[in-house]
């Protein structure tokens, strides 16, 4: 099986200048390969660097060393670790889907628009984008009366479903899922598991942090242990 994501030699440390320049090494020599249609779960104690790795894979943190090779849907390969800001933005539009644990709310933008935005950014006409967004929100059991409201006042579970819909509405070759079921009830958890299965079936590569052991067992093909650096060194 050919890979969609291939990360190697990743290193990340933080220099805290406000704390006297303390160095905080988090990752060294981290590597990960995920094939099309495969789901890899990151595991390890908190503080081990799972979230840091996810942020590197999304381009939110910059790697100190290493490569993050991504295969775009046209087959071409990009190195996210070397990509310019414009290239990262293009990769996020077309290649990397991301479901974070918390929704960063934009004032005044209704939930439906939040979800439709990844489609309109790719040039899908507004009406079609909103129809697809509404269908996915329905599937995630977000009541229709909430679609036209900005998610700022939504509950944690409602915001997470908006976030999930935004992540799954467009078909990305790579999906990054950070605790996608953390605030969900059993019914919606099943919906998310089905969405993940469908993404795998269409050939997406997925990387996730799943603290819910049952969800992890059901969706992950493989578990990657992320070990804290001091013990690994």
């Amino acid at each position: 099986m050919s890979w969609t994501l291939r990360a190697e030699g990743l290193a990340k440390s933080f220099t805290l200048h406000l704390q006297g320049g303390v160095e905080m090494p988090v990752l060294r020599g981290a590597a990960l390969e995920v094939g099309a249609g495969e789901c890899v779960a990151l595991s390890g104690p908190s503080g081990a660097g799972k979230s840091t790795l996810m942020r590197l894979l999304q381009g939110n943190y910059g790697a100190d060393a290493g490569r993050i090779l991504l295969r775009r849907s046209d087959g071409s390969v990009a190195d996210l670790a070397q990509a310019s800001p414009r290239e990262v933005i293009a990769l996020r539009r077309d290649t990397i889907g991301h479901v974070s644990q918390f929704l960063r709310v934009i004032p005044r933008v209704p939930a439906l628009e939040v979800v439709a935005e990844p489609l309109t950014a790719r040039g899908v006409p507004g009406e079609e984008a909103r129809a697809r967004a509404a269908a996915l929100l329905h599937r995630l059991n977000l009541p229709e009366r909430l679609h036209a409201l900005p998610p700022a006042t939504f509950s944690g579970g409602e915001q997470q479903r908006v976030n999930l819909a935004r992540g799954f509405v467009a078909e990305y070759p790579l999906m990054l899922l950070d605790e996608p079921t953390a605030s969900l009830d059993a019914v919606n958890r099943e919906v998310v598991i089905a969405l993940i299965d469908e993404a795998k079936a269409r050939g997406a590569a997925l990387v996730g942090i799943f603290h819910d052991v049952e969800v992890r067992h059901r969706v992950a093909d493989r578990v990657l242990e992320v070990a804290p650096l001091r013990e690994a060194a």
């Binding site: 200048h17 406000l18 381009g59 943190y61 004032p107």
Partner: protein, 258 residues
């Protein structure tokens, strides 16, 4: 992806007396891109904006603008008539104080229509209809079209300035602290409006702000300035979430989370 920057500054330097306000700044802006220049008062960010727009001449360095015709023009040697023409047609300016961008005694509709006429529109009915459409777009009630902006609130004036600037669909807009001096509740509305309009029209924007939250909301890319120099630049969320420079770390850690 369009492969020519719309604006390109190299090694731009400017001193006022013994003070080097801007020291050797280079940057590129791409079509449709929003670039925020952040830093504290005195960092040189407003001077840099004026250098980029051609309002202040550099002691050294060049600023090149790639016009819609494809021709590349040096902003500081093109001459005042050419620059004024650009300012009327392909460029726009949003000032912190709306009074600097509006004619306070002219009606709201007239403020918007005037800019249309300056860029060549002639038909009165079309101009008034377009002005009305833009007032609606920036959420100014149609009934206020004949009122002068001196009767408007600060937020409404700023929205009118946005309408006046964007009505001609400029390719490049310079914004200097567009939300400065407004109430917080008014700022959110204005920011969201700017965000939606800029994305919708595909305008390139250089935004000077000391408001990190505004930069996060609006900008694709961030330049952090201190003492006239760029200390850090990059993708907005990466600079804010993974800041490298001590000054950027200080700036980010000083923002209160709501």
């Amino acid at each position: 992806m369009n492969d020519h920057p719309i604006l390109s500054a190299s090694s731009v330097t400017r001193a006022f007396g013994a003070v080097r306000a801007v020291a050797g700044v280079s940057l590129d802006l791409w079509p449709g891109e929003v670039l925020a220049i952040v830093g504290e008062s005195g960092s040189g960010k407003s001077t840099l904006l004026r250098l980029l727009a051609g309002d202040v001449r550099p002691d050294a360095g060049t600023v090149l603008y790639r016009a819609s015709s494809g021709a590349t023009r040096d902003v500081h040697t093109m001459g005042e008539p050419a620059r004024r023409h650009l300012a009327r047609t392909e460029w726009g300016f949003v000032h912190q104080d709306a009074r600097d961008g509006l004619r306070m005694a002219v009606s709201a509709g007239g403020n918007v229509g005037e800019r249309l006429m300056a860029s060549g529109a002639r038909h009165y009915g079309d101009i008034r209809a377009e002005a009305a459409r833009w007032l609606e777009r920036v959420e100014i009630p149609a009934a206020r079209i004949d009122d002068a902006p001196r009767l408007f609130s600060g937020g409404m004036r700023q929205r009118l300035q946005i309408a006046r600037t964007l009505v001609t669909r400029p390719r490049l807009v310079f914004m200097d602290e567009p939300t400065g001096g407004l109430d917080v509740s008014v700022q959110a509305r204005l920011l969201d409006m700017i965000r939606a309009l800029v994305a919708d029209l595909g305008i390139a924007v250089i935004l000077v702000t000391h408001d990190i939250a505004a930069a996060r909301l609006l900008a694709h890319r961030l330049v952090v300035m201190r003492h006239g120099r760029v200390v850090e630049e990059g993708l907005t969320d990466r600079v804010l979430d993974d800041p490298r420079h001590p000054y950027t770390q200080l700036l980010v850690s000083s923002v209160l989370a709501a």
